[in-house]
């Protein structure tokens, strides 16, 4: 007998759906609550707002330094 696609899918869907045990689930929940509290703390909100500016500044600074290093190397070869 050939098991067709539908039969295969039915067998797979009949597999029991498992869950975390209660203790582990509770531990995860508590950890997530802690993370939630941190994420809405005023400090982290400010960091999130400034993040794009900080990244852009760091990027610009790095490019400037790279340009300076290349300029120095070029001068050294002259």
């Amino acid at each position: 007998m050939n098991l067709d696609d539908d039969a295969i899918d039915q067998l797979l869907r009949a597999l029991p759906r498992e869950d975390l045990d209660a203790a582990r689930s509770e531990g995860l929940r508590r950890r997530a609550h802690l993370e939630l509290r941190r994420s809405v703390a005023p400090g982290s909100r400010i960091v999130r707002m400034l993040e794009p500016l900080l990244l852009a500044t760091c990027g610009a600074c790095m490019l400037t330094r790279l340009a300076l290093v290349l300029a120095m190397l070029w001068r050294a070869t002259q």
Binding site: L12, R13, P16, D19, S39, V40
Partner: protein, 194 residues
């Protein structure tokens, strides 16, 4: 909260509402854990990865679009975490998942049928565990999680045709593996979804 839409819960989660997190966590936890357990074949690893998945939900909640399909988002995150782990460690792909059955959820059936059904489940789990990671994820996302093909293609960064081909190969391998073990139990216990 009863009957609250998922979008409303996500919005409240963005404000740091713990009750909203609890509601979303209870809604999706078992599904994500089951997915990870079948992908990894290791309960302890699946527990670690499901924890990381939901912590990422908390961290990325402010950036979620209002119309995000959270089930797909969570499965994507879980799948990517699993793949990252798979790349960096040797997983025994042939191992069986030793998961505790929840006896109280089983409908009353005869001891013979119970044994037969469990044996079939064991064989299906084993056959699934023997597939490659790529094939296993496509089969689980299609057959068990019932995601549409285009959604899976987006998640796996493949074309829909590539997903279909992978799925077809996976089903053939599963059929072959299951047929090797005999047909009688399959006739008796394939569930009728009508």
């Amino acid at each position: 909260m009863p009957g609250e839409s998922e979008h409303a819960l996500i919005e409240r989660l963005r404000q740091g509402d713990r009750a909203a997190f609890d509601a979303l966590y209870d809604l999706h936890r078992a599904r994500i854990f089951s997915f990870l357990a079948r992908m990894t074949g290791r309960r302890a690893l699946a527990e670690d990865l499901v924890q990381e998945t939901f912590l990422r939900l908390v961290r990325f909640a402010p950036r979620l679009a209002p119309d995000t399909r959270l089930d797909v988002w969570l499965l994507s995150v879980a799948r990517n975490l699993c793949r990252s782990h798979y790349r960096w460690s040797a997983l025994d792909r042939g191992s069986l998942i030793a998961l505790k059955r929840r006896e109280d959820d089983d409908p009353p059936i005869s001891p013979f049928d119970m044994t037969s059904a469990r044996e079939l489940e064991r064989r299906v789990e084993q056959a699934l565990g023997q597939l490659s990671f790529d094939m296993r994820e496509v089969v689980i996302l299609t057959a068990i999680e019932r995601l549409p093909n285009d959604e899976i293609a987006r998640m796996l960064q493949l074309s829909p045709e590539a997903v279909r081909q992978r799925l077809s190969r996976a089903r053939k391998l599963l059929a072959k593996a299951l047929q090797r073990g005999g047909h009688d139990s399959l006739h008796r216990t394939v569930p009728d979804e009508s």
